[in-house]
Symmetry: C2
Subunit: 253 residues, 2 copies
């Protein structure tokens, strides 16, 4: 459990994982995702097939690694908003910043990588899954903020009837919590608004991701894309402004 020395075992695990990931990426970009088998990757990395599966349970995980940051990103941007900023404002600002940084999280993946994804139905489906988890994480955050801060904006007015028994997220698309959370019955009025706001913000996020991906596939360079997407983002977020600009405004400390 030593922290600084890391241990030889842990070190080798990282090396093995990295080696597998590297060879996989190379083969995917070279031959395409579906035309590369796990056996190919295992052979290139000189490990057993089972070792590949061990590190990356699903084949898609080899191409879409670091998905945890992606899933949490949207919610974290909102969680870190300064006093006076709304959820929409936080998302808008985070997107502009990611645009400046050419952040892969919003779609700056490079042309070959974008093509690899677009050419594989499996990867497209997995990306959809990740986007939904991204929305779920945001919905979870906004829902808990109702309880913690008595979130209630003016656009619906009657969130007073909220019975804040629930703050748990929904059962995930795949995994799932078999015993249905006790929310179910009648979720308080505020919960549905939080979910609706999360749905709208996530929809904007997905739309912008797709636009960026489209331009990447069309061969535009990153600077050109960043410029165009800044304007696109402005329009998309402006459209949401009258609906949710007063939702989840962080109260001045």
């Amino acid at each position: 459990m030593s922290i600084d020395t890391l241990g030889l075992r842990e070190q080798k695990k990282r090396e093995t994982r990295q080696a597998i990931s590297d060879h996989a990426t190379q083969l995917f970009l070279q031959r395409g995702f579906d035309r590369t088998t796990i056996a190919d990757i295992a052979g290139a990395a000189r490990v057993a097939k089972m070792t590949v599966t061990n590190y990356f349970p699903r084949k898609e995980d080899l191409a879409l690694d670091h998905h945890e940051a992606f899933v949490a990103g949207l919610a974290e941007a909102v969680a870190r908003r300064p006093p006076g900023e709304s959820a929409l404002g936080a998302v808008r600002r985070a997107y502009a910043q990611a645009l400046e940084q050419r952040d892969p999280v919003i779609g700056f993946t490079g042309r070959d990588f974008a093509r690899m994804i677009a050419d594989s139905p499996t990867l497209v489906a997995r990306l959809r899954d990740l986007h939904e988890q991204r929305e779920e994480a945001l919905a979870r955050l906004l829902t808990t903020e109702i309880d913690r801060t008595g979130e209630a904006s003016d656009e619906t007015g009657r969130t007073g009837e909220t019975d804040p028994t629930d703050a748990t997220g929904r059962s995930s698309g795949t995994g799932g919590t078999p015993p249905e959370d006790n929310v179910g019955g009648e979720a308080g009025g505020g919960v549905i608004v939080a979910r609706a706001v999360a749905a709208q913000l996530a929809a904007a996020d997905r739309l912008l991701f797709r636009e960026l991906q489209r331009r990447t596939l069309a061969g535009q360079d990153d600077d050109e894309i960043a410029g165009a997407l800044a304007e696109t983002a402005r329009r998309v977020f402006d459209l949401l402004e009258p609906a949710i600009s007063t939702y989840a405004v962080r109260r001045p400390a």
Copy 2:
């Protein structure tokens, strides 16, 4: 090619297809989707495995049949709106009507069916895919309406710079049109607004579907669900109202 007599061959095809679908549904509800093999279904329907695959290329198609109506539904509701009604108004009205009719399209599938879907990651993913196609169909419609009617509402103002070269939809998630549509480059400003509106309406649609599914899984009966969802829908659509209530209002004929 006779229309009224249908032909013996066509008749038998329908019977075979129906028999396979019926046996599949029964087995799925009984044992669950993932614990039922195609061989089981073929055996129950007394046909060869290949015949099952022949009628239903993917296993998911056996559980989520009639997906064409589902995919087209949202766009058709908007396409059929009367003069003076906006896209949002059309979707809201269509949803209320579907709620009255206990329409399976919005999630009235029965408890066992809902559980079958929720228990299978494969089916959940496929359902997501269908929802996205539903959004794409709507986006396609709203985009074409820009060209046809010079759609330009007041919320963005500057849709005048639209260069209506494009009306085609995006390449579908799975299938796809390999040669990128020539839109790509710089889509006119109106196109992105149309896509954003479609994204918001589809997000609301998905959210309401999930809420209905959640209640179904919780064991609520259809009347109880319909009542609660009517209120939920009102809140969700009300939230969108200030953003897009003036978008795509059909001009009085």
